[in-house]
């Protein structure tokens, strides 16, 4: 049976079909999950996709974290289930306390929508287990609040524990330590600002994201 990946939809989410398409292209079974439901319907992995959950009112992710589905995701993550937050999904996971730090507005005052080069820093996470450390991937970014920040103590821990899984080669948004993606202590919850689901076919300009989405399928 194909690995099932639940893709969470909030009011204002807009990347859910890209995520489902990427999962299915790689042989998985992508299923949409409504944020107001309270269970994960037995999926093997979860993607919190990009968009503007609840209109990004107050702060990106601030209201989304109170959705009933987020309780189910927290329990799934605590049991070791693989969870990936992409872009707005990353913001949601930081607001929910499933990942450390926060995403502030980009340095340079611009909304950024462009390809970005990422370097794989750790292959020990649910998003990078198929990837090779040191390899570089072309994956697009599309955000205004993607400038990762955290306090010095958190940053030291992330470094010491090898939890910075992806870095930008040419930091586009001012993120501290060039951070593009981080994982939790259990390494099963990963957040990243770039969109690997939009880079799973050469027709889209890059298929480099496939190794990341494929990793999630392997981790499930």
């Amino acid at each position: 049976m194909a690995t099932s990946v639940g893709v969470v939809v909030f009011p204002g989410t807009n990347c859910e079909m890209d995520a489902v398409a990427a999962v299915e292209r790689l042989g998985g079974d992508g299923r949409l999950l409504w944020h107001g439901d309270e269970d994960l319907a037995g999926v093997d992995a979860v993607i919190v996709p990009g968009g503007f959950a609840h209109g990004d009112y107050l702060r990106p992710g601030a209201i989304a974290r109170f959705s009933p589905m987020m309780g189910a995701i927290a329990r799934f993550a605590a049991d070791g289930g693989p969870v990936v937050g992409i872009c707005n999904g990353f913001q949601v996971l930081t607001e929910a306390g499933l990942l450390p730090g926060a995403l502030q507005k980009n340095q340079g005052l611009k909304f950024l929508c462009q390809p970005s080069m990422l370097r794989v820093e750790s292959s020990d996470s649910s998003l990078t287990c198929r990837a090779t450390v040191g390899s570089e991937l072309s994956v697009p970014i599309n955000h205004f609040e993607g400038n990762y920040t955290c306090d010095a103590e958190t940053l030291a821990r992330l470094r010491d524990e090898d939890r910075i899984v992806l870095r930008y080669v040419d930091n586009p948004n001012g993120s501290v330590d060039d951070i593009a993606g981080v994982c939790n202590e259990g390494r099963n919850v990963v957040g990243l600002m770039p969109h690997p689901e939009r880079a799973c076919d050469e027709l889209l300009g890059s298929a480099d994201g496939a190794v990341l989405v494929g990793s999630l399928l392997d981790a499930a």
Partner: protein, 91 residues
């Protein structure tokens, strides 16, 4: 009792404030010289039912810390006044 609550949310020092920076850069062109340190935050106003001002303050501070602000990037000050008595009321 009802209390008026005013929450003033500011970005913490060192956190990017593109709106503030853009406003500050525009000021000289508009003839406003000597203006510096522009920052843009947000205010949230609400009323809250509580037995007394101390309870109103403590519940508002909780609400502020758990939802209205993200302490990684934001600070806030909470001002509580009996409903109708604050300078903000009815403004």
């Amino acid at each position: 009792m009802k209390f008026d609550v005013l929450v003033d949310v500011r970005l913490r020092g060192g956190i990017a404030d593109p709106a503030g920076a853009t406003i500050e850069r525009a000021l000289p062109a508009l003839g406003y010289d000597g203006v510096a340190g522009v920052t843009v935050g947000k205010t949230v106003r609400f009323t809250i039912e509580a037995a007394d001002e101390a309870e109103a303050s403590s519940r508002s501070e909780d609400l502020c810390a758990s939802f209205l602000t993200n302490p990684v990037i934001e600070d806030a000050t909470v001002t509580v006044n009996p409903a109708g008595e604050s300078a903000e009321a009815g403004a």
